[in-house]
């Protein structure tokens, strides 16, 4: 079972920015797609199927926009598939694409995550004033901030933990030419002194709104072997998993949700990982608010409960630490919502391929890509490796 091995042989990203004023909507997807195809040494004609993920259609005001991109993606006569699973969406999308190969249904699949947030505003597209429903009185961060506060209370984490995460991720972003935010002047003080929006979350500890797309080319084992033989190392998929739990289940732990723990356990089991802290070299983690780094470190089994923040403070999660997290700059530096999950997956693949450029971790062999969404209730993860599973 799990009949066919899956290899990532192409990764293509757009330049991420607040407004991609120079391209059309299909142009944005084509930019990522053509870069991925070039990386994979393929053309559109080589692709068997396309799997697309994005956040709600209200962002761009187009119902199932991928239908109007079919010609632009050379997909006439091919299967095209749309996944929609909240913030984890393009992680889920990559997993659906991977399943098409693992099952033996297709051999070469293009998968794309994208968002053009400049078409509207996140505040509008994510939270209409629905009749008869309670209005948000505190914005998006106001939903998560009480749980972060609860984490701090449980763990006694120093109150600058979030500052250290934001500083690290934004400095990592300086090494990633595609990243949205390139804050050359950022400092510990500038983060700490930024406006406390939702105490304990400061402005500089929150993600931006970005335009952008990422595309991956996935192949079967033969495709991975062929790329390898030509000196283009693939990333091998060692495990994939998604998990969901209800937003409003009485008794659910929103600081360290069970679905995240279960999803990690499932993907580690598939990848043969019994000690993630030892066996995983680098992590691309979905951290839209800085404090989620220590929270996910615990949720994903990298640290005992209540101790995740120590890894951050000890520099373990820095580029030169022994568990580097978000070398790309992460969601804190780049957040086209419908692409953010797949960017984590794609950056994990780049690391084990040795192709991450300036933010490459030397000798990275095994990497985790992690995405979550909704009320911290939807999870998608994959483990990729330099070695064939």
């Amino acid at each position: 079972m799990g009949a066919e091995r899956v290899a990532v042989v192409g990764v293509g990203q757009t330049k991420y920015t607040a407004v991609r004023g120079d391209v059309s909507l299909p142009g944005l997807l084509r930019e990522a797609t053509f870069r991925a195809l070039e990386d994979a040494q393929m053309t559109l004609a080589d692709i068997d199927a396309i799997v697309i993920g994005k956040a709600p259609d209200f962002f761009e005001g187009i119902m199932v926009p991928e239908y109007s991109f079919v010609e632009a993606l050379g997909a006439v006569g091919k299967p095209i598939f749309r996944v929609h699973t909240a913030g984890s969406v393009s992680g889920s999308t990559a997993i659906v694409a991977s399943g098409l190969i693992e099952s033996g249904v297709h051999e070469r699949v293009l998968t794309i995550g994208w968002e053009m947030q400049s078409c509207s505003e996140a505040m509008w597209a994510l939270s209409f004033n629905m009749p008869f429903q309670q209005q948000l009185v505190a914005g998006a961060g106001g939903y998560f901030a009480p749980y972060i506060r609860q984490y701090i209370a449980r763990s006694n984490a120093p109150d600058d933990t979030g500052v250290l995460v934001a500083l690290k991720d934004r400095q990592n972003a300086l090494k990633n030419p595609y990243a949205h935010l390139h804050e050359h002047d950022i400092s510990y003080e500038s983060v700490k002194e930024s406006l406390m929006l939702w105490d304990p979350i400061r402005y500089s500890e929150t993600c931006p709104s970005s335009d952008g797309a990422i595309a991956l080319i996935l192949t079967n084992e033969a495709g991975g072997d062929a790329a390898s033989a030509e000196g283009r190392p693939p990333a091998w998929v060692h495990g994939t998993s998604f998990r969901s739990e209800p937003a409003m289940a009485a008794g659910r732990d929103q600081v360290s949700p069970q679905a995240g723990k279960d999803c990690a356990a499932d993907v580690y089991r598939q990848a043969g990982i019994t000690n993630p802290r030892e066996q995983i070299d680098v992590v691309e983690m979905y951290v839209p608010f800085s404090w989620y780094e220590p929270m996910w470190l615990e949720n994903l089994g990298f640290a005992e409960e209540g101790t995740g923040w120590q890894l951050t403070h000890d520099g373990v999660t820095a580029m030169d630490g022994d568990l580097p997290i978000n070398c790309s700059g992460g969601v804190l530096s780049t957040n086209p919502i419908g692409a953010s999950g797949m960017i984590r997956f794609g950056e994990a693949a780049l690391q084990v391929r040795g192709m991450a450029g300036e933010h490459q971790i030397d000798g990275a062999r095994t990497a985790l890509g992690h995405a979550y969404g909704g009320a911290a209730q939807f999870y998608a993860m994959w483990v990729v490796g330099a070695d064939k599973p």
Binding site: V19, R20, G21, D22, V23, S24, L25, P26, G27, R30, L44, A45, F58, E60, G61, E71, A72, L73, G74, A75, V76, M116, S118, C119, S120, W124, F128, M130, P131, F132
Partner: protein, 153 residues
């Protein structure tokens, strides 16, 4: 659409209007931008594919292969109705405020048709009808610059 009110009246529930309104911003890229620029100038342009076929309105890619297209060419403001339907109940936002025909209009010099409104009486509408573009007097570089097509008298 057939109407069949089969609502069960088991229990009266609350209801309220929900209005979703937004002025979405769309970046055009160079090809769509050029088409809208041409509309502002009261003209049409298309784009040539590898076989020399002219697509109007232009797109950035070959519709069959996805290959990039770049050669913009002029297209006429008159053309022919390839097929059409009649829009009896006009809705908000549509090109005209009275009943009109939707038509696929192939402009002179183009090889593919575009969808738009034809302002003509129902009984005049026929496949093969020659039509001419009617532009707005004040044009700003948007689809609104093209009001509709009218029969060539």
């Amino acid at each position: 659409m057939p109407e069949e009110a089969t609502t069960s009246g088991e229990e009266d529930v609350l209801r309220a209007p929900l209005v979703l309104e937004y002025p979405f911003k769309r970046t055009t890229g160079p090809v769509i931008g050029a088409f809208l620029t041409a509309l502002r100038e009261g003209r049409f342009i298309g784009i040539e594919d590898d076989q020399g076929k002219v697509l109007c309105p232009p797109v950035e890619y070959d519709p069959a292969s996805g290959a990039s297209l770049t050669k913009l060419v002029p297209v006429g403001s008159e053309g022919e109705v390839l097929f059409w339907s009649w829009n009896q109940s006009v809705r908000d936002g549509q090109p005209l405020d009275h009943p009109f025909a939707w038509a696929m209009v192939k402009l002179d010099g183009a090889d593919t048709p575009m969808m738009h409104a034809v302002d003509a009486p129902h009984e005049v509408m026929v496949t093969g009808l020659r039509v001419r573009a009617k532009f707005a007097e004040e044009r700003i570089g948007s689809m609104d610059d093209l009001l509709c097509f009218e029969p060539v008298s």
